[in-house]
Symmetry: C2
Subunit: 393 residues, 2 copies
């Protein structure tokens, strides 16, 4: 435990706590803030005044409580004024959004991404999408940062994309490339898509209030965002959660990582399409076609989905034994697979996970859906503001 | 982030930070404390006076610095006076120790544990060992708590041993049994042996200063204590780190957990003895005999050790991909296996772990050796004192 903070640090900590509360929970009365933060009314009043002075929150008409006495004014995040830009770089598409304080997606753009698209080609497309959105931004709006979600391994220190086997990127400084295209100096925070989606679902999604969460995200590959004890597990360099490369089959199928028998060769896009007898196909649509065919009684598609579901349960049981989570979230293509093969997954979990590790686990699909990557990327950008609210600009 | 603390909370936080510093680092000059804690000299002086008044630290003759000016007095933990009792319940032995503030083992007892020994039989033996030690304790000594390390799954809320397949314990309240035998009211903190050993090695052992650590502990089974971002990963109920029950072989060997193909069926005691052609043998001595035989050129023992080493590397590669640690520590029987088969382990790691996840990983044996379980169990007991130093007694 570090030594206690100074008076100035305490004030900044309190400002951050209040701003974080309305950022996560939305409009909140001063009375509720007093209770939630454990601070007295005059302190809440002073903090609110400071944040309102900086244009970060506004105070509005009180909510009608139906109770006697003067109702308490409501503090709201300035979602239209204070915003971040968020990018999501996926296997088959590029997305950009303007996200307001409070996690509101205010505007968005989406582009197809041909597989094999280089960083040098992706950066101008993404920057162009943001420049287009900037034309519709109110004159008094303030951008507090930019966050990027990438389906790849991202070095925590500087956001370098070390390896994204599914997009073919190796050692790509996507943050710097975007800064150059946008002509901005401010740092751009880059994170792995599963990590940022887990972050978003934990902050304001299905895992709100859960301290121990495994968020499984699938596209061609499979990764996990991990929350343990209420905090993100990032690993030493930022590369933790590469659960798709958990080896479950000795001398198994060749994986895009160069090794063999990785979990994602069984549950990822390639494995499922191969086992369904569609090895030439690729992409989310091709995958959904397999689930559809299974649903309509196609025997081969059905067998492939059940097999993938069994493998999904097999690996999730390992993660349950390792992390003892209270929730496992199935995102991206793992959502589709979970919904199509829940029985296999449950059965494998019951057979392979230790009773104590499994007993309180809830299996869930994301509440934020596909927006989790964008909202989570924006959260990366908002973190700096929330750590020190009056230091913006 | 919670709101900022009150003045009284800050003082207690500072007292805890100072006491923790000398607890972990030993005798420290006031000048060094000023630098380490970032507090001014008069604050350090006042905090030291408070802790000395409570009998937790003493101030002594300054260290000779060789520099000009008045040397700074040295603050020492009162290791002989302030102590905790620590127990370690292992497959083949029971241990008890009196551990002084600062992590010094002051006295210890060890008993053989026949496999199959019940909690009702173990508790009086352990309590007897402590009563014997109590006869040698100085009159002014203060016991601040009791901690227990158990090779089993421990519920965090109340220390119930949910399942210890290797000792046969199911739902055993070992803490309550010990309290009753000792005739004490104070709560006894119980933890899993791998978790507490990891805690000890992180606080004052080979992993000091490492924020992301996997500590693998083996006896008959295999478990891990995990440190992520400088904090212990415990999971929702306290059961995380059951890596020995990571399934790596579909329809593999039957495991004591009731499932099949668990990692520990390949690297734990039973698997190694089975593969070495000694299925009737058991215990650490029998295991060491296999390593000895392999060393002396026994072909079957050598093959069994290489095979187990390969499986150890196989599973550690998965943990490296999942946690991206900066250090993996091999404790208990995993230490022996690591030392006997380092080449297989390294080779498997290089083949199966992702380059980015592996690049900064150091493989190490414990610095505290077998004492890690006792020192870690004592740390559990010291935690309450360090959180609020003046609240003892």
């Amino acid at each position: 435990m570090p030594p206690g903070p100074s008076q100035d640090e305490i004030r900044r900590q309190n400002l951050g706590a209040l701003l974080r509360h309305v950022h996560v929970h939305g409009a909140t009365s001063r009375a509720e803030l007093t209770t939630a933060l454990g601070l007295n009314r005059s302190t809440i009043g002073a903090l609110t005044a400071d944040l309102a002075g900086a244009g970060l929150v506004s105070e509005g008409a009180p909510k009608e409580t139906g109770r006697a006495g003067r109702p308490s004014p409501v503090v709201r995040p300035e979602s239209n004024r204070i915003h971040a830009y968020a990018y999501s770089i996926e296997v088959d598409r590029l997305r950009a959004a303007r996200v307001g304080l409070g996690g509101v997606v205010l505007d968005r753009r989406e582009l197809d991404r041909p597989r094999g698209l280089l960083v040098a080609e992706a950066a101008p497309l993404l920057a162009g999408a943001v420049k287009e959105m900037q034309q519709h931004v109110p004159a008094d709006a303030v951008c507090v940062g930019t966050g990027v979600a990438v389906c790849g391994m991202v070095r925590r220190d500087d956001g370098l994309v070390r390896l994204a086997p599914t997009t073919g990127w190796v050692d790509e400084p996507i943050g710097a490339a975007l800064s150059a295209e946008l002509g901005i100096d401010a740092p751009i925070t880059v994170g792995n898509v599963a990590d940022v989606a887990a972050f978003a679902e934990h902050a304001r999604g299905v895992a709100a209030g859960c301290d121990n969460v495994v968020y499984l995200y699938g596209d061609v590959g499979v990764g996990a965002g991990i929350i343990a004890g209420g905090r993100r597990v990032t690993g030493h360099g930022g590369y933790s959660g590469e659960v798709g490369h958990m080896k479950l089959v000795r001398d198994g199928e060749r994986c895009e990582c160069g090794s063999r028998g990785c979990w994602e060769t069984q549950i990822g896009e390639n494995g499922l399409l191969r086992n369904a007898g569609r090895p030439g196909a690729q992409g989310r649509e091709a995958l959904l076609a397999v689930f559809d065919a299974a649903d309509r009684g196609d025997a081969r598609a059905g067998a492939a989905v059940r097999q993938a579901g069994d493998w999904l349960g097999f690996g999730v049981a390992n993660l349950v034994n390792i992390f003892n989570p209270e929730m496992v979230i199935f995102g991206g293509t793992m959502r589709d697979l979970y919904l199509a093969a829940a029985a296999q997954i449950r059965s494998r979990l019951n057979a392979n996970a230790l009773t104590a590790c499994l007993e309180h686990v809830r299996l869930r699909t994301p509440k934020l859906g596909d927006d989790a990557a964008l909202v989570g990327a924006a959260e990366l950008a908002f973190e700096r503001l929330l750590a020190d609210p009056l230091d913006i600009g």
